[in-house]
Amino acid sequence: MDLISVAETALRSAFGPQAAFYALLAIGLNVHYGYTGLLNFGQVGFMLVGAYGVGISVATFGLSLWAGVGVAVILGIGLALLLGAPTLRLRSDYFAITTIAIAEVLRLLVRSSPATDLTGGPFGLQGVAVDFYAINPLSAGLSLGPLSYPVAVTWSLLVTWTLVVLTTVLVALLMRSPWGRVLRAIREDEDAARSLGKNVFSYKMQSLILGGVIGAFGGAMYAIAGSTVNADVFRPQVTFYAYAVLILGGAASRLGPIIGAVIFWFLFSFVQGFVRQAQSADLLPEFFSSGAIGGAALTLTGIGLMLLVVFRPQGIFGNKRELALDA
């Protein structure tokens, strides 16, 4: 058993690409759920339109990467309007089901073979980010003790984490503003906010757009970092893991999504590495010896999520009073 190397690998993924994408998704969810009380269970849909916005623009139509990011943002706004216009008036449990359903419909549509000319169908799109890696100014990858990444990964990490920090600051500033206070008032008591003359529907829609565009950025960076888009990535579970990240860090807290993503990925990768080591050291029963390790880590994710939301729903950084709502 080489626990040091397991921990080092875990540390690498704690700050790796997955953690960064999930941080962006969770920041978006934090705007929706943490600050506005919207139970958006279709965040992966925003990620999907972000990724395909970039992918289709660049790989299908040959536009520049910047145009692709623009398209991703526009699609994110479009999806928020489409999703929110009919459903924001629904009760929160119905809203949750509808958002899941719409995100899943989007995934089925982009992966279907009639859409192949546009989206690559089940094969997805490749060669999305040639421009991005062409402008890589770095000459060497990061090498900071165990935290070492190849040069291309370092470049995409740099951009993604910068985006994470920028959106965190933006959201923190917005939530301190009068606008953010209205959102929180809506979360606490929608009718009270309405009776004070606030257009609740409009504020909810703005919140949905803001969080959705942040999620779309997560998708866009996913497409760019991997240079590919594939529909099967955008399964409904991604939203659930993003909620796990958010709840772990603490909903309605500024740094919750970032800390949540880092800790989640550290733990997840650590469990995987640990089980893999135990397996190669023959510490496990023989009938468990084949195959990979993901099931154990995901089962623990499920158990951890249940324990967390029952015993510490405010997460690490959250304030329990902020979450005393019955959303």
Partner: protein
């Protein structure tokens, strides 16, 4: 119903004899979850968004699954050649209809279907050769669609046949959805883990039937009991204490999501990622009734489903217990003050609901094969059915699910098979917009 050969993310693993171990482990707790996966490639792909920077370079693979409406097709010969036409490797699909070829490097390859077993054909518009591009170190699915068993029949015959498939599918969803609806009606909980109850029943039955070699009918009975026990355990150990704690709706939703992940991936660890079939009642000859053709197995499943649904409906309408369930669903406080033991009724609702879900899962597995991951897909269809019929009403759930099953299968007549579930989910959204109380529901404010 034409099943597209959906790429399975998972590698194949041989069956394991674990029947008893599984039921015991799952029911007694989750201590075993620290053990690693039998075949958890799928699970990893599930979460990891980008290519992970693993220590060892992963092989570059082309893979695929051949299925038709009867399930996976074994014995199809295919070949993979490089772009200039030189043959790299020839493969034959295994009993799961799957094949896999490791190619030397990323690039474009030609995949050709060389020969097909008797009675199997590619779909009319499908070319026998297709190009596939794969990046270095990645896995790329290559998809060929197989045709209907009898592609020459006219539209009305196909429509009748799809209607039959739709009724079969709808009856199965109906059976699974009753529990979802009853639990919501009595406790207000939307159970995201309900799809996992379905899969749990199917997989436990698989272990009893295939690993332990028990006849499927007896295995089904045991599987339904095991599902009911799981439902009872989940209510007793988890949701009853949580009801006392007074959790918020959001917390409860997240608990059911956590439960769903826990059950799903525990099942993956023991069962593996592939789609497998029961040993009994496979490979039956279809019997034809006028324009319709169905296997005796599927006809039996439909008949049994109808009997079970009628029994459940009668139980709800006439028996003391059924009346008590409806009373609790209607108004919990009033039911309690009139002397009904509400917690006991809720416990029974969980047992009945989970048992029905397990039975539905076994029927589903009997006609389409058993895997660990279809729970969530089914859950979304159950939501569609339950909301179409009216959330919280058991009859509504049955009726709505039947409609959803029929819509799903009839859509294949005009639209691609791959997006058939999208129509059902589209119906869900439209119903919520225009008649949110559902077709049979009582008008109340949900907006």
């Amino acid at each position: 119903m034409t099943r597209v050969d959906e790429p399975l993310d998972s590698r194949r693993t041989p069956p394991r004899s674990l029947a008893l171990a599984v039921s015991v482990a799952l029911l007694l707790g989750l201590a075993l979850t620290l053990l690693p996966a039998l075949s958890a490639q799928a699970a990893t792909d599930d979460l990891v968004l980008a290519q992970s920077e693993d220590d060892e370079p992963s092989p570059t693979l082309l893979f695929g699954t051949f299925r038709n409406q009867e399930g996976p097709v074994e014995g199809i010969e295919a070949s993979v050649s490089s772009e200039d036409g030189s043959l790299l490797e020839a493969v034959t699909t295994d009993e799961n209809g799957q094949w896999e070829v490791e190619v030397p490097e990323g690039g474009t390859y030609l995949v050709t279907v060389e020969s097909l077993p008797e009675g199997i054909s590619l779909r009319d518009d499908e070319e026998p050769t297709t190009e596939a591009s794969v990046d270095e170190g990645r896995r790329q699915a290559v998809i060929f669609r197989l045709g209907e068993a009898n592609p020459t029949e006219g539209f009305s015959e196909r429509a009748a046949q799809q209607l039959l498939s739709g009724v079969r599918f709808g009856l199965i969803i109906a059976m699974t959805a009753v529990g979802l609806s009853l639990v919501f009606g009595t406790t207000g909980l939307i159970n995201f883990a309900h799809g996992e109850f379905v899969v749990f029943g199917a997989i436990i039955t698989w272990f009893i039937n295939v690993s332990a070699g028990v006849n499927l009918i007896i295995a089904t009975a045991l599987g339904v009991v095991a599902s009911g026990v799981l439902g009872a355990a989940v209510d007793r150990a988890l949701f009853r204490p949580l009801r006392r704690r007074g959790l918020s709706l959001f917390q409860l939703l997240v608990v059911t999501i956590g439960l769903s992940l826990t059950i799903r991936f525990t099942l993956l660890m023991f069962y593996g990622g592939s789609t497998r079939r029961y040993t009994d009642y496979v490979g039956q000859q279809q019997v034809t009734l006028g324009p319709l053709a169905a296997t005796p197995r599927d006809l039996t499943i439909m008949a049994l489903s109808i009997v079970v649904l009628v029994l459940v409906a009668t139980m709800l309408r006439t028996s003391r217990l059924g009346k008590a369930m409806r009373a609790v669903a209607d108004n919990r406080d009033l039911a309690e003050s009139s002397g009904i033991d509400v917690e006991r009724i809720i416990g029974i609702v969980w047992i009945v609901g989970a048992g029905l879900a397990g039975l539905g899962g076994i029927f589903y597995g009997t006609s389409l094969g058993v895997n660990y991951f279809s729970g969530f897909q089914l859950l979304l269809l159950m939501f569609a059915g339950v909301i179409l019929g009216g959330l919280g009403t058991a009859y509504g759930a049955m009726f709505g699910s039947l409609v959803v099953g029929i819509i799903t299968e009839l859509s294949v007549l005009w639209f691609p098979d791959e997006i058939k579930f999208a129509w059902a989910l589209g119906v869900l959204v439209i119903v919520l917009l225009f008649r949110p109380q559902g077709l049979l529901g009582r008008r109340e404010r949900i907006g």
